[in-house]
């Protein structure tokens, strides 16, 4: 068994990054490394949004995006489920009605379990209803039509959208804006970020969605992983700088190494 050509550097980089993540997580867990995350306005606004919905007596809508739990956008869905845990806890605390809409069938049982366990942990299992987590459609535009219908009929007061979104991002954000909902959105899908910035009150940009679970739970394991991410990012920035200097001076050693 051997590595396919073109993946050799990627494989060893993955091993080094994995060791770095595990090491920083271990040190953070044992209190040998202190991690403090900067303030992320979008995540802090979630409580404000749910509180406002409670005061108005209107529901909170949450969408974990339209991606599945497989493929390269799966981490965004998992990051969204992390935030959903926090949203459920807050909804239980304030007795706010929560509506979670789902597009991918594979995400549906996961979201149901997250919300059910969240209510159970908050000591309010009776708040979980069959209509709390709703599968709408696996068709992208049928899903968004369903979401807009819920917005219009139930006049949601808070709209939280965290995960992977595509063309429906602006439809959902503008639909929420039209019913006067306070909106927090976040995605790592580059081309949808401008739409969220334009239409929502708060936007989580790119990697901020992955920090959501750590930021909201302040769990040491997750905080350690976020710190490790930053170290990897610094290493990458250094390699970009060194690579640019080397290529400018006619040396392509680093470029050749990266494509090995």
């Amino acid at each position: 068994m051997e590595l396919v050509k073109g993946n050799i550097f990627g494989f060893w980089a993955m091993v080094v990054v994995s060791i770095c993540v595990v090491l920083v997580v271990y040190l953070t867990k044992n209190g040998k490394f202190l991690v403090k995350l900067r303030r992320i306005a979008g995540l802090e606004a979630i409580e404000e949004a749910i509180g406002r919905a409670t005061e108005m007596g209107k529901p909170v809508h949450f969408s974990p995006g339209i991606a599945d739990v497989t493929g390269d956008t799966a981490p965004q869905t998992f990051a969204a489920l992390e935030v959903l845990t926090y949203v459920t806890t807050l909804s239980a605390k304030y007795n706010a009605e929560l509506i979670v809409t789902i597009r991918m069938p594979n995400v549906f049982p996961l979201a149901q379990e997250v919300v059910r366990q969240g209510y159970l942990a908050a000591g309010k299992p009776d708040l979980f209803q069959e209509e709390t987590v709703r599968f709408l459609s696996s068709e992208q535009f049928a899903y968004i039509a369903g979401v807009l219908g819920i917005f219009t009929r139930q006049r949601v007061a808070a709209n939280l959208m965290i995960g992977a979104f595509w063309a429906e991002s602006l439809l959902m954000a503008e639909g929420g804006s039209q019913v006067g909902a306070i909106q927090v959105a976040g995605t790592a899908n580059m081309h949808q970020i401008p739409f969220f910035v334009a239409a929502c009150d708060y936007t989580l940009i790119g990697e901020e969605i992955y920090a959501g679970g750590a930021y909201l739970s302040q769990d040491k394991v997750r905080l350690g992983s976020i710190a490790a991410q930053d170290y990897v990012k610094f290493a990458l920035m250094a390699s970009i700088l060194v690579g640019a200097v080397m290529m400018t001076s006619g040396n392509d050693w680093l470029r050749v190494l990266f494509v090995k």
Binding site: A74, P109, V114, M190, E207
Partner: protein
Amino acid sequence: MRREIPLLITFLVGIIFLFGPITTGNIPVLEMSFRQIVSTYLSPWTTIITAFAIGLASINLLRLHGSYVARKRSGWINSAALVISMLFFTVARIIRELRPTDPEVVAFYGRIFDNIAAPLSGAMFAILAFYIASASYRAFRARSLEASVLLVAAIIVMLGAAPVGALIWDYFPSLQRWLLAVPNTAGQRAIIIGAAIGGFATSLRILFGLERGYLGGD
């Protein structure tokens, strides 16, 4: 065990899927490559699990809207339309599967998609044009320094891309190209690199069982 078994399955399946595309040759002892394990064992399981998930989701949809119809809740007529169309499309697909060579059945199935599903999706997509206009109006109102920068950049890009821009000022097209190629690309790459590392770290946490939120909390 309720936590450990799913975590073990996640780790093993994750490793196999991870090594599948980047390795060749057989795994010692097993005499099978990662790729073969994926195609022989894991892919059929993925299909089976997805089929069950679709069943579960469909039951949720039918029960929810069935109860709206039964209780004549406000807007129940929409729920009735959903239940009827869902059953109609299910029956149509079953007939299509049972008689795959019947040209009339194949044509009918194609027609209901071309004349019902496609126009409805197209209509939803078309709404985007109006929403882009209303969102742009709000975003481009110069209420802060950032919004003002956005407004100026947008005007330059629009004028640079439109033929009239070059007539107003020769430098608009080159300024537009520079804005897109330099500050815009730099910003995009920074976000993409950050998001990719974040996604990778999240995947690692799931693989090593450090992230358990998707199982319903810690």
